[in-house]
Symmetry: none
Subunit: 252 residues, 2 copies
C-alpha cells in the first residue's frame, strides 16, 4: 500500500497525534462561533474528507470532544454541538465576564448550557436509570465576584423533573429549581474527591493554566426516600478552593 498523504518529512515528528489536532481544530471552530450549540456538525465522512484522514481518526477526535462535553452524537442523526467554550485557546476578543454581566446572569453562577439528552452509562449508574433514559444536563460556572471558582455539570432524570431546564434558567440555584419542580428537600448521598489536571478547555474557562491542579468532586444527591435526583460533577480550581470537612458537619 502506498502512503498517499502526509508523509512526515522525517525531520521531526509531529509530537501530537493527528486526532488531537483535529479535536483542537473543531473545538476552536465551535468556540469561535462557526458552529453554535444545537448545530449539527458535518458528518464523520465529510470531516474525514476535509481533514484528509480516515473516518476513525475523526471519530477519535469527536470522542475526545464528547468526553469534554462539547458535542454529543445521535446514531443515525449526526453529531451536535452541546456547549460552546467561551473564548477558547487564545481568543482575546471575547470577554467572558462582560458577557455574563450583559446577559444579566446572577453573580456566582453562570449557565453555559442546558440540554436534554439520553444519558450515558456512567450517568445511568449514578442515577439508577437504564442507559439511554432522558436526562437534563446543566453545565455552568461558579463565580466569586469576577473570579471563576469551579465548573460544574449536573445531571437530573428528565422524567421526574419535566420543566427543570426552564426552572434552572430562571432561578438562581439548583435547590430552588428542584423545589419548583416539587422536590422539597434532598440530601447528599455521597461525595468523592479526586485530583486532576486541567484540560485546555477547563483551564480557559477557569482562567488558570493548562495542567493546573483541579479538585474534582462527584456527588450524588437523593430525595428523602433515597432515590437519586442529581448527579453532579464539579471541577474546582485547585488553588482557589479549599474543601473543608469538619466532624460536626459529617455527623449532622
Amino acid at each position: 500500500m502506498t502512503p498517499t498523504a502526509t508523509p512526515p518529512p522525517s525531520d521531526n515528528r509531529p509530537r501530537s497525534p493527528v486526532w488531537a489536532a483535529i479535536a483542537t481544530a473543531l473545538s476552536g471552530e465551535i468556540a469561535s462561533g462557526h458552529y453554535s450549540p444545537g448545530d449539527k456538525l458535518p458528518t464523520e465522512a465529510q470531516l474525514a474528507t476535509r481533514f484528509g484522514v480516515n473516518r476513525h481518526t475523526v471519530r477519535h477526535a469527536l470522542a475526545r470532544l464528547a468526553e469534554d462535553g462539547l458535542v454529543h452524537a445521535r446514531r443515525g442523526a449526526g453529531v451536535f454541538v452541546s456547549a460552546a467554550p467561551l473564548d477558547y485557546p487564545i481568543g482575546r476578543r471575547t470577554r467572558f465576564h462582560q458577557n455574563l454581566s450583559a446577559a444579566g446572569q446572577l453573580p456566582g453562577r453562570a449557565h453555559l448550557h442546558i440540554e436534554t439528552r439520553p444519558c450515558d452509562q456512567r450517568e445511568a449508574q449514578a442515577l439508577g436509570l437504564s442507559e439511554g433514559t432522558l436526562v437534563h444536563v446543566c453545565e455552568g460556572l461558579s463565580l466569586a465576584g469576577a473570579v471563576p471558582l469551579a465548573l460544574f455539570r449536573s445531571v437530573f432524570p428528565a422524567a421526574r423533573f419535566s420543566n427543570l431546564p426552564q426552572r434552572l434558567a430562571e432561578l438562581a440555584s439548583v435547590t430552588q429549581a428542584l423545589a419548583a419542580e416539587g422536590l422539597a428537600d434532598y440530601t447528599r448521598a455521597s461525595t468523592r474527591i479526586v485530583a486532576k489536571t486541567a484540560t485546555a478547555m477547563q483551564a480557559n474557562l477557569l482562567h488558570i493554566a493548562q495542567g493546573a491542579p483541579l479538585l474534582r468532586t462527584d456527588a450524588i444527591n437523593q430525595d428523602a426516600t433515597g432515590v437519586p435526583v442529581e448527579y453532579g460533577r464539579t471541577w474546582f480550581s485547585g488553588d482557589r478552593v479549599t474543601l473543608s470537612v469538619t466532624p460536626d458537619e459529617i455527623d449532622r
Copy 2:
C-alpha cells in the same frame, strides 16, 4: 437491499456491544481480586485471543476501563491495574491503616525523616502552641502493598510525647505510637483539602510524573478533651486515591 428482518419491533435483542461485555468481565476480575493493583494485565493480543475478538475491540474495552480509572497503559510496557482509586473516607475517626485494610490493601509505611525542632507559625497555630515550641516531625511514605499512595508530614507536640520519635520508628502506625505514649484515642478535628501538582521530589517519591495532580489534606487530630495532638499534612497521589466525604458541606 432486501428487507432482511423485523419490520415490526418484534424480537428484542440484548444488544450490548462486545467491548462492553469485555470491559465488564475485566473490571469484575479486578474487583474480585484476580488482578491486584499494580499487576500487569495480559497483553492486548492475549486478551484478544482469550475473548476471541480483534485487538481493537479489546482496546475499546480497555479505553473504557482507563477512563474510569481502573487501569492505565504504558506504551511498550503493558496495561496495569491502577490501584483502583482507593476510596479514603474522611470522618471523625479517619485512620490510614484501617482505611487500607478495609480496602483489602496491605498498609505500609516508610519513614524518610524523623526529627525534633522548634515549630513554625503554621504548626504552632494548628497545634495551639506558641511559635518555637519543640515538636516532633515525622515525614514518610504511605504504601499500599508496594505502591506508594501518599507522602505525609506529621507534627506532634514534643513536650507531651517525649519518646514518640522512637515509637514511630518501631511501630507500624501513628495510632500505635500515640497509644504507646499514653494517648488511648484521638479524633479528627478538621480536614482541609486542596489540589496541587507534584514537584519533582514528590513525583519521584510517589512514582508519578512531575506535574501530576495531588490531593493535599491538612488535618488536625485532637484528644478526647479537644487538645490538638497531631497536625498532619498528606499528599495523596491523585490517580490512586479518592477521598470520600459523607456530609453535604461540599458547596457548589
